[in-house]
């Protein structure tokens, strides 16, 4: 130490003199806190006392049957489409990284199309599928048919909505999964191969579980984003989801604003529940990584965090603005956005 009195303090047998300095005061912080608190209080007060928000109406419809059913349909669409999308995304990501140029190209093309066109357009398309392809049949390609369905019966409004959301989402998730797979150290694959594991086993038992650590956080964001994207399914048209149900009630009683608040309340609540789920998922897949380090090995936590960040950045998890974003999730009929 270069301090002239430093050697004094470390002389053995003498208790070093502790520093009890007066801390620096930051009056600016207190002023800022006070200003923000007053503004927040004014906003809350205005929200509660403004009769135009019609809080009694909000209370009346918060737990109304069509609203609760809307919540369930929205949840079903969100969870269902995300599950399908994750499975499809893993498939696309593996195809994208395979040695086979045909599967690589197909995967690239899929992602290009589904990421490059608006979700609204895609949903309208799935709604029209029964007009475009009145009959779907199973059989030998270009040959005899074994089974055939009327498309209208096979692709109901709900299935069309589910399919439309899932196929679009898979394109985004595929990039996230790919970035996750790439973030796993090559040595892991090598070690597993040296133990005699087959490629499928390596993916399932060694690479994917580690990639999940990188995949889960952006996928959580995607799920929350999907929750709100479900409000676009009236393009199919599917008309039972939370957004449509509340807007229908609002239009019927000529009070759109309180029903808007009802919808916002439920979207917020479900988002909060999803965030809790995401926390536990992240903790599960972070096991073995976030533990206390006894000795920083070559696979230290820094590397993990850097890799995660890189993967998130590479995954382009913030999609281009959909019509939803421009409408602010409002009650107005988005039919005009087509």
């Amino acid at each position: 130490m270069s301090s002239p009195t430093g050697s004094d303090a470390t002389t053995p047998g003498r208790e070093p003199e502790r520093i009890h300095a007066v801390p620096v005061r930051y009056p600016g912080r207190w002023v800022a806190a006070a200003v923000v608190a007053v503004i927040a209080a004014m906003a809350v007060h205005g929200l509660i006392t403004n009769p135009r928000f019609a809080w009694p109406t909000v209370g009346k419809y918060l737990f109304a049957t069509p609203v609760l059913q809307g919540v369930l349909w929205t949840l079903a669409l969100t969870v269902g489409s995300m599950v399908i999308a994750v499975v499809l995304a893993v498939l696309l990501a593996v195809m994208r990284g395979s040695d086979n140029p045909v599967t690589r190209a197909v995967s690239w093309f899929y992602i290009w199309v589904f990421r490059g066109t608006p979700i609204y357009t895609q949903l309208v398309f799935w709604g029209l599928i029964s007009v475009l392809y009145p009959k779907i049949s199973l059989g030998v390609p270009f040959g005899p048919e074994w089974l055939s369905f009327t498309t209208k019966d096979l692709v109901t409004a709900f299935r069309g909505a589910l399919l439309g959301l899932a196929l679009n989402e898979a394109a985004y998730l595929a990039e996230i999964v790919r970035a996750g797979l790439q973030s796993v150290d090559r040595g892991q694959h090598e070690a597993a191969r040296a133990l005699g594991m087959k490629e499928g086993t390596i993916l399932r038992r060694v690479v994917l579980p580690q990639a999940m650590r990188v995949i889960v956080p952006p996928t959580g964001n995607e799920t929350i984003s999907m929750l709100k994207t479900t409000s676009l399914v009236l393009a199919v048209p599917f008309t039972l989801d939370l957004n449509y149900a509340t807007s229908a009630v609002g239009n019927r009683i000529f009070q759109p604003v309180p029903l808007l608040i009802v919808a916002a309340f439920w979207y917020l609540l479900v988002t909060s529940v999803l965030m809790v789920g995401q926390y536990y998922l992240e903790r599960y897949y972070g096991r073995g990584f976030d533990v206390h380090k006894v000795n920083a090995g070559p696979q230290g936590p820094r590397r993990g965090r850097a890799a995660r960040q890189a993967a998130i950045n590479a995954a382009h998890t913030t999609p281009e603005p959909t019509p939803l974003d421009e409408m602010g999730g409002g009650l107005h009929n988005p039919g005009g956005v087509q």
């Binding site: 150290d185 040595g187 892991q188 090598e190 070690a191 597993a192 191969r193 040296a194 133990l195 005699g196 594991m197 087959k198 490629e199 086993t201 038992r205 060694v206 579980p209 580690q210 897949y285 096991r287 073995g288 990584f289 533990v291 206390h292 380090k293 006894v294 000795n295 090995g297 070559p298 696979q299 230290g300 936590p301």
Partner: protein
């Protein structure tokens, strides 16, 4: 399987093995015979192809020419006849994975599975590859971890272990597969000096138990003490090979002398 317990058949034999990475000719005709129950130490400067040679033995790399024969069995190929001529048929990846399971490998950077505990690391391939039952795999894993002195660290994740402990788990993981041959690629190079000894001690015990081993290392002391055969490689060829006394004590080749003078 054409594998045999005949002690006169070498555990592993490389005949004129070549390896190209694109245009880079990395292995230029490697001949090597490692008899059963012996330890072969491979020395050589960086980039001489030591790791590549090891990786060719367990088919992590596909060789460009020559033969790799493990305990009498050709690695990676099947001999057949096509149009009246003897021809090699490449084995299906599953069959190669099967052959690979007979060879244990320990890496410089440990490569433990970070999302599994020490015990999980040792159990995994037994269940997935050898199809052992959970209980059998577990008790075997416990035995192996005890053998490397880590039975008190079984529930630790790799990140909670020191480098030396991680490397010992990696050795236990390979041993649990009952390999015929163990390959070590600079197993102590990534370790702090004070941790090298514990890993070398495990390897010494393993050699004494009769395991056939090929060890790439710069630990000359270990080579002198444990090796039956020392191989010096440079630029993708075997420059010199013999007993530790011959190669380390009185090297014939100038390149060997030059290398030894720098690492000793």
């Amino acid at each position: 399987m054409s594998t045999t317990t005949d002690a006169t058949v070498p555990m592993v034999e490389l005949r004129g093995v070549h390896k190209w990475f694109g245009d880079a000719h990395v292995l230029r005709g490697i001949d090597l015979v490692v008899p059963k129950g012996t330890v072969c130490v491979v020395l050589g400067p960086s980039g001489s192809g030591k790791s590549t040679a090891l990786r060719c033995i367990n088919q992590l790399e596909e060789i460009g020419a020559g033969r790799v024969i493990l305990n009498g069995e050709l690695m990676g190929y099947r001999e057949g006849v096509r149009g009246g001529r003897p021809t090699l048929y490449r084995l299906h990846p599953k069959a190669i994975a099967h052959q690979r399971a007979e060879v244990g490998m320990v890496f410089q950077r440990f490569n433990l599975f970070p999302h599994m505990t020490a015990l999980g690391n040792v159990v995994e391939a037994q269940v997935q590859v050898l199809r052992r039952g959970k209980d059998e795999a577990r008790s075997r894993a416990v035995d192996m971890l005890r053998r490397v002195g880590l039975d008190d660290r079984m529930e630790h994740y790799p990140a909670q272990l020191s480098g030396g402990q991680q490397q010992r788990v990696a050795i236990a993981r390979a041993l649990a597969m009952d390999p015929e041959l163990m390959l070590f690629d600079e197993p102590t190079s990534a370790l702090d000096p004070e941790l090298v000894g514990e890993v070398l001690a495990v390897m010494r015990d393993l050699a004494a138990s009769g395991m056939t081993m090929i060890v790439v290392t710069h630990e000359i002391g270990f080579a002198r003490e444990v090796a039956d055969q020392v191989v010096f490689m440079a630029d993708g060829v075997v420059v010199e090979q013999g007993t530790p006394d011959e190669v380390l004590g009185s090297p014939r080749e100038a390149r060997t002398r030059d290398f030894l003078s720098r690492v000793l």
